[in-house]
């Protein structure tokens, strides 16, 4: 069986190898770029300069960091569980890496065009929770264990709204193939028809990536890095790589599914170069939004995080799926989707505000009570 790679006829294995190598190189470079850009942007939000020393405008800072991390000693606590501890970073990293397979970079070009692309992505991306728990458990550190447990709870809770939001879009596009989803959008991207699903996707994606305001597992001011606490050197950098690769992949998928991927809203067929620019611009917008949110919001507490997922996001996502189903079955006009989506979004905002404005009814437990309890 031969595959077509940029017009070259290649053996399937050679083809796969080339694609994987391309992706690995691309990912490493893009992650280093992302880290540099994040530090610069965050610095501007905080009125700082950011990295300036290494290379022109600090451009080589990420490279220097990477070299430093690789050169560092790989420490393992004596009491840690060796296998769990050593393999955890890879269990976190590989599922994320697998996600690259279905990122639709250009029209007709992704590592593999998979018919059930979205399903594949959803299935692989949730495996890394196991890695987090392994890291937390294997480190034999109480902060790490709390962090690992938090990661598990959070990852599982937010997987559901994420999947349902993607499912809602897949219903409208009537496909799970990302290429077809992008093509189905045509001139009007799905964010217009599915604003609620987009919002839920964005929030859930933030939680999946453990970005603020959902960086509860690694919350520096509470559990000091959570599962990473005992890691150093190369293994730690693998976690880091996974975090930023996930950021890139989720933003790219968000851009493809909701923002129309490589399509230009006004024009027609575009060449490969333009497609790449558009795709990068849309992904970049989402990534900037993630950084912006990071600079602006505090961290949620674990019970609020779970409550928000199960009590707010999940019911609304289900409602969205229901509405989409009705629209498909009864052939209602598309405008219904827009109206219901905006209404859902307003309901979401209203629920959020109401939750905050609740009267303060939770008095602290007295010491006598707690002694009685323990």
């Amino acid at each position: 069986m031969n595959y077509d790679l940029f017009g070259l006829e290649l053996n399937v294995w050679v083809d796969a190898l080339i694609r994987v190598l391309l992706i690995v190189g691309f990912m490493t470079v893009s992650v280093m770029g992302l880290i540099y850009i994040e530090r610069k942007i965050l610095a501007r939000f905080q009125r700082r300069l950011g990295p300036t020393r290494t290379g022109p405008m600090g451009l080589l800072q990420s490279l220097a960091d990477a070299l430093k991390l690789i050169g560092k000693e790989d420490l393992r606590p004596k009491s840690a569980d060796p296998w769990t501890f050593e393999f955890a970073p890879y269990v976190v990293f590989i599922p994320v890496f697998l996600g690259f397979v279905i990122v639709p970079f250009l029209f007709g070009w992704q590592v593999r065009v998979i018919e059930l692309g979205l399903l594949y992505f959803v299935a692989t991306s949730s495996v890394n929770i196991v890695g987090w728990v392994m890291a937390g458990w294997g480190s034999d550190n109480r902060y790490a264990m709390i962090g690992g447990m938090r990661a598990a709870a959070q990852g599982i809770s937010y997987e559901l709204p994420l999947v349902l939001a993607l499912l809602a879009v897949a219903m409208i596009a009537s496909s799970l193939n990302l290429q077809e989803i992008v093509s189905a959008q045509g001139r009007v991207p799905f964010v217009v028809w599915q604003p609620l699903a987009f919002f839920i996707f964005f929030v859930a994606a933030l939680a999946e990536m453990n970005r603020p305001p959902f960086d509860i597992p690694i919350g520096e001011s509470e559990v000091v890095g959570g599962p990473f606490v005992e890691y150093s050197g190369f293994r730690w950098s693998v976690f880091f790589l996974a975090e930023y690769a996930a950021l890139f992949i989720l933003s790219a998928i968000g851009a493809a599914v909701f923002l129309g991927g490589w399509a230009w809203p006004l024009g027609e067929e575009l060449g490969r170069g333009w497609q790449l620019i558009l795709m990068s611009a849309k992904t970049g917008m989402l990534i900037f939004l993630v950084f912006w949110v990071r600079a602006s919001v505090p961290r949620l507490r674990i019970d609020q995080l779970m409550g928000y997922s199960w009590k707010v996001l999940l019911p609304l996502a289900l409602a969205q799926v229901l509405v989409n189903g009705a629209v498909l079955v009864y052939d209602w006009p598309k405008q219904v989707l827009l109206v219901t989506g905006v209404m859902g979004l307003l309901a979401l905002f209203w629920v959020t505000e109401r939750a905050v404005r609740q009267p303060r009814t939770r008095p602290a437990m007295t010491i006598a009570q707690s002694e009685a309890a323990s």
Partner: protein
């Protein structure tokens, strides 16, 4: 959600403002002339000898006892055929910068205006690898004013 929107607008407005940090070793902040780094001894440029007579006043007043002063007869006193009016002069002087708490008391008690707080960047950038390198002896204490790179400021 409105609150979060407000937060994000606040950060966005900061994004457009100028950064406030400085690239420190390359670019120094101008420091005011009252700045107190560490005490140094002053040099009487007219007669070409230190102002300090070794009177021990500062040594006694220092709260952390980081100074050591030794006095000697001035070989350049007029009675010895020199041109100086100081009968006694400083022989040896050490200040342990590692202990000094920069309280300015030595400057206030000195009757001869012989000691002052360094108000240049040189007085701040004193990182060393060994604590004993922070014990300054007389030539080190005198050198900076002798070369004339000290901003004048005398507390009234």
């Amino acid at each position: 959600m409105r609150g979060i929107a407000k937060s994000m607008l606040t950060t966005l407005s900061a994004f457009t403002r100028r950064p406030v940090t400085r690239e420190y070793p390359e670019r120094h902040r101008p420091i005011p002339e009252r700045d107190r780094a560490f005490p140094i001894l002053l040099w009487d440029q007219g007669i070409d000898e230190p102002f300090c007579t070794g009177c021990h006043a500062c040594e006694r007043a220092c709260p952390v006892e980081c100074m050591t002063v030794l006095m000697k007869d001035n070989p350049r006193h007029t009675s010895q055929g020199g041109n100086s009016s100081r009968r006694k002069i400083i022989d040896k002087f050490w200040i342990d910068y590692g202990r000094c708490m920069r309280c300015n008391i030595c400057v206030e008690v000195c009757n001869f205006d012989a000691i002052a707080m360094n108000n240049t960047w040189q007085g701040h950038e004193l990182s060393v690898y060994d604590r004993s390198d922070l014990v300054m002896d007389l030539p080190q204490l005198l050198s900076q004013h002798r070369q004339g790179n000290l901003k004048e400021w005398v507390a009234e």
